[in-house]
Symmetry: C3
Subunit: 316 residues, 3 copies
């Protein structure tokens, strides 16, 4: 078995995708994350686990929010953090991606957090770097966003304790969503018996059922008796044009309202990766309501990223 | 009394404005600031008062200079600093201001330094955040810029020792200046008996005298026998158009020259919040002259921001 | 002798240019740099030499790569680093360069790393700052880029041990290159007996031979029997227009290919300051070939910048 994320000892060498990520490693990450969260408020302690190490946030695609979560996680581990918005610089000077990466490696970074608009970019970089450098995929094209999926799994486990007895619905633009892909792989790996996707046909990949999910085009049916509702963000550029008539139309059929949520289990939780489009994919009364765990997701996200970084730093 | 800046123990919980800020808290800040300045050069010592704490510079409006002063102050206190230029990111993705703030709170920042082009933004955020998070207003619209006013008070006390015997003139575009508003409230709170504003009618708010100031439209009269001259920056966008004929015309009537300064007291000090427009609101010979304390203001500004942060961090 | 880079004790006060930099100081920098590199991999250790000090990266001209190398070097020395992209802020508000510098000095930085598009900017700033502040030139116009030249010298010494027996060729757009100027001064100071420049007449400064170099217009002749080939980057804006017909034409006559490199010594090394234009000034087979030391240059660059900073911080 040649898993590009594992080293020869079977340890996590890079975190690129939840697809094929062994269940024992997923559980290790979730367990480790919980050690960084203190008390009821979920305070995050500063620890010296990455003291003297350098983490480079290499963002070929701009994202202040995601970059910030990794920056905080690294600083809470006492690492030195260097932020690079590469979109604005070297590559526009005609340098190739791999030359840029080679240069950053030669600066002796210990860890790269990579975001790129092209699917597969993080894999390409991971294959290319020196063996002592670890790569974390912070989102590549439509492919994967594994730390988002792992923080979602942490959130589910926090509220539901177990995975083996859950019914989970992922709602929205699955077609363009790296988050959805990573969630589906994580949920099935962790043993969730029923994963549903709920979306109009134009926003579903062809043959999506081959990923092990059940397909629904109707919200009332798709949400019936689910334990977890995972909403997806509707990208602004999808809100008009060929795939969707308008944001208003979308909300009418696929927006999560309290009425629609009523068909889910009475203790169902509602998640969203942010940033939310209130009134498009989710109604404000749900976003701010008692079922919403959207803000705890963010807190858990810091702890999960700390866990990933500290596990990578511990690989031999 | 419901002061949004104080907690129930009467301690400083947020620093939003100098309006209504108790005199004992202003004096605490000035006293604390002096402990961070060493020797004649005004060296600033690094201390561990905010070790393990995270300070987020949340700038909805870009300002490298102001962001830098807060960043240095936080780092001199050994805090971890995360810079966010929000103008470029989430809000442009359609997220609301309060959703952005909620997300940053969920990342467990200890302190937000907020700059926003809308008056009242810092208050809104302060009302919204969890009780363990402290907000510092780094400038909101035309409303307030309290750390600038407090560093100005520190500068005045440094050179003049007392406030109760001073005559102070604020000169320039009071109408559009959050700095002027914060200065006026601070000066009157600290007991300055005579605060003057000197400006053309078009650059004064209506009923400005209700703030407890005397109004002058003539520089020679306005500067007569004053101890302190506080110049305001003339924003580029004011230099032409409806309110002012031109920058040259403005300098002719309201530019601070050595000639005009001669009517002030012989030991008067000249201040400016920066960045200066030389030859517009101030002549170079004054900016660089013996009365100018413009650069000490900057140094004191670091110490005052350290004082504010350390006092906030100590609130229970 | 009034060398603006030295203090009255003859110690390095600022690093502005390699021109006139005493050979003993160059050798000190190279010796010091080697102490930061560990083992065969060239690992860079974190040391507390600049603990409590503030390094400001003051970039009037944007360069993510160069800024990053200085940021890493400073953090590896345990300094606090503040990044300022001044191009985007104060100067565009009408403030003069020296007012900006005065303000940054008043914030009590210990060291400025300055990049500016105008030749002489770093000198001007160095003359202006308070005596306890050190200035490092990170590139000023077409004038100088001393840390690049010093890391090149480190690289040459690493592979060739001595300077006094070398034949070195600098190839490309010498006319517009601050790197080439700084390399030539460093090479001649360190005693390299034969320095060649190889370029079309349109890309050479007039009277370049007065710098102590031999001029070649033909690659085969210019590279014959050399020990070191130092390639220059061809700026995109030169690739078409008055000075050059096209990038393709340039590669045909001045691109470094394996064929052309064959006339150099069999153990010649090939250097490039990056970012490379593959297929314009250098062929990929050479860039990635056994003679290339382009990536070690980057690693040595971190150590050399650490050496410069720690020597400056030690000046009395």
């Amino acid at each position: 078995m040649n898993n590009p994320q594992l080293n020869k000892h079977g340890e996590l060498q890079h975190l690129l995708t939840t697809e094929g990520l062994p269940v024992r490693i997923m559980r290790d990450i979730l367990d480790k994350a919980s050690t960084f969260l203190d008390g009821e408020q979920g305070d995050i302690r500063k620890v010296p686990l990455l003291q003297g190490k350098s983490v480079f946030n290499v963002f070929f695609e701009n994202s202040t929010r995601t970059r910030t979560t990794f920056e905080i996680a690294a600083k809470k581990l006492s690492a030195d953090v260097v932020n690079l918005n590469i979109g604005q610089s070297s590559t526009s000077k005609g340098e190739t991606l791999l030359d840029t990466v080679d240069n950053l490696c030669a600066m002796h970074a210990d860890m790269f957090v990579v975001r790129h608009s092209t699917s597969g970019a993080a894999h390409l970089i991971a294959q290319h770097v020196a063996p002592e450098i670890h790569v974390i995929n912070a989102g590549d094209g439509r492919h994967a966003h594994p730390t988002q999926a792992l923080l979602d799994m942490y959130t589910i486990r926090h509220y539901k304790k177990e995975f083996h007895n859950l019914r989970v619905a992922i709602v929205g633009d699955v077609l363009h969503s790296r988050v959805a892909r990573s969630q589906i792989h994580a949920l099935t790996t962790l043993g969730v018996p029923e994963v549903r996707v709920v979306a109009p046909k134009t926003l579903l990949p062809s043959h999506v059922e081959k990923l092990g999910v059940q397909v629904y085009h109707d919200m009332e049916q798709g949400l019936e008796d689910v334990d977890v509702v995972m909403m997806l963000r509707l990208q602004n550029e999808r809100m008009q044009g060929a795939l969707l008539p308008s944001a208003q139309e979308y909300f009418k059929y696929y927006g999560l309202t309290q009425e629609r949520l009523a068909v889910a289990k009475s203790d169902a939780i509602v998640m969203h990766p942010g940033p939310m489009n209130r009134g498009v994919e989710i109604d404000s009364s749900v976003a701010d309501g008692s079922h919403s765990v959207i803000l705890p997701q963010v807190t858990f996200g810091i702890a999960v990223r700390m866990a990933v970084m500290s596990i990578l730093a511990g690989a031999k």
